[in-house]
Amino acid sequence: MISESKLKILTESAKYDVSCSSSGSKRKNGGGIGNGYAAGCCHSFTPDGRCISLLKILMSNDCVFNCKYCMSRADADVPRVSATPEEICELTIDFYKRNYIEGLFLSSAVHKSPDYTMEQLLLTVKKLRTEYGFYGYIHLKGIPHAHESLVREAAKYADRMSYNIELPSEKSLKLLAPQKSRESLLLPMEQLRREKVAFQEEKHKGHFLPAGQTTQMIVGASPEKDGQIIRLTQSLYRTFGLKRVYYSSYVPVVRDPLLPDMPTGELREHRLYQADWLLRFYGFDAEELLEEDGDLSLEFDPKCAWALRNLHLFPVEVNKAPVEVLLRVPGIGARSAYKIAEARKYASLTFETLAKMRVVLKRARHFITAGGKFYGSENSAAVRGMLSSGVRTPVQMSMFADGQNALLSDFETARSALTGEL
């Protein structure tokens, strides 16, 4: 059994990784323990409001790389430990069978060398699958600069792999994570994309990353604008077919002259997730949302901001508008758009029926008519005022950091911050 202190160190160092989803894999139980749960499943929630779905842990925090922002960087004076593959496997199995977790999220510091680390990770997941008979979810971090044959082999055992892009531009990457290069992150992503396509075409038996790839970048440690970040995100989705791009707002765990002293506002992270959702589920293009050198509005959510810039397209009639148009109405999410499309087949919808169906009308009423009736305000300045979140400029935000936290502690906002739902 892994020791308490080792578990604590390896967890503490892994917890800033944002990705925790366990969705996308339908792996069947083949006689051992576990299976995939395509919808994903949260098993617990911590006092920071995040969910625990996977056992998120490092193989080792003993790193030869020296990324400035990382608490496990080579220069840091912290206790170094490494777990054995057996310790990780045993922990996973015993947590899993008690239904504490949905699977394993295994990452590692670059211990000794990239190839050695990747070998250890591969050895662990292979052992877990073959010797321990584990069929549950495995998310494996890719180690940059590891040999491509190790990456290919690992993909046969993991449900999802991720290479963290870390920072939104090559320049910042060079500055803050000097040993990681753009190629060392993007080439394996491209390799996995290519090999997954080939695997699917040849209809091989077995699995090859059924839940695909994701990535993560730190926002606010470097000067890139939201416009660049959203464009990068869009190209990652389109070029590499990623399932998710995660953003982690910068939290200073290390002091360095190259890094900001203040944490990045979580509202910025929230707005990025909202924009990310618009790209993936609402048919928006990055170009519609903001300029390349611009930031997302903190005052309005990105869909609302877009609608306010395009008032000539509104109001739309809920009983007639196609679903794609409904999806672009501020306040109407995918679920509401679907409910409206179903219900209007049987009866003409009024504001009263929309309210009963729990379609949130606070924002939407300014952009729709129901049965020809309009209950919003004609005055666009008044609409702006009513829809404003009250947060005006970035300057004000950093001055009143507490006020902004108070905003997110409101349950609805906080929930949508987590799920990214608009």
């Binding site: 139980n29 947590f95 239904n99």
Partner: protein
């Protein structure tokens, strides 16, 4: 008229036929406020009448009995009336009404079923097994809705080699998987002998739970929104 019934499917269907043309019907499997002059009937399940109602409802909507089964599991106080209104509307309309969300009775039924379904999904995550001395797994739960047997297929599929018991301590019943078959049994109190390692694994899980939290981001309200306090009773990470 007030119709009392025992909450079972057949008694519901029997009462449904009796109350079908009673515009003033109150149907309940719990208690009801009696007003002066109110008439009451205690409806017993009538097998042949229940089959007649079932056949008729199934002819209208193939999914109707599945809906009924879900509605009758609900822990909501008004679920009997919600179900009665829904099935009356279904029978009067003569075709599936599931998507007619602009109708009050359909919406109420949909919400009620959604709450049951949501709780099943939540418990796929929130069930906490303990390992007993003989290797079988035991999990006490206390859900809002009567769902313990609905949880079995999920755990059976992922833990085929582990016999387990999911014990609804509120309703005093247990869903059991003995390694081969699953069944539902009444169970008041269970005497459990824990395995040698159980306490240690629970402690390790608590360590993990504490370690993975980011203390500088305190969002207690959000945590409780996702994982309501009433579910904490049987979670090692929230005890002690």
């Amino acid at each position: 008229m007030i119709y009392f019934y025992d909450g079972s499917k057949d008694a519901f269907l029997t009462a449904f036929l009796l109350a079908y043309n009673d515009g003033d019907a109150t149907l309940t499997s719990g208690s009801a406020q009696l007003s002066i002059g109110s008439q009451t009937v205690f409806v017993q399940a009538d097998f042949s009448r229940a089959r007649r109602a079932e056949k008729r409802l199934l002819a209208i909507d193939k999914g109707s009995m599945r809906d009924l089964s879900v509605l009758l599991r609900s822990g909501d106080g008004d679920r009997d009336m919600v179900a009665l209104d829904y099935f009356k509307f279904l029978a009067k309309t003569g075709r599936p009404v599931r998507e007619m969300l602009a109708e009050d009775c359909v919406l109420a039924a949909a919400e009620c079923m959604r709450r049951v379904g949501n709780e099943v999904h939540r418990f796929h995550g929130f069930v906490r097994f303990m390992e007993t001395g003989c290797g079988a797994l035991y999990a006490p739960i206390s859900p809002d809705n009567d769902i313990c047997d609905l949880l079995v297929p999920h755990f059976r599929a992922r833990l085929p080699g582990f016999p387990f018991v999911i014990h609804d301590v509120k309703r005093k019943k247990a869903a059991v998987y003995d390694g081969e078959h699953t069944f539902l049994a009444p169970l008041d109190r269970a005497e459990i002998v824990l395995s040698a390692g159980e306490e240690k694994w629970q402690a390790l899980w608590r360590d993990y739970y504490d370690g993975v939290n980011i203390p500088s981001r305190k969002r207690l309200k959000q945590m409780r929104g996702y994982m309501p306090v009433r579910y904490w009773k049987f979670m090692p990470e929230k005890k002690g």
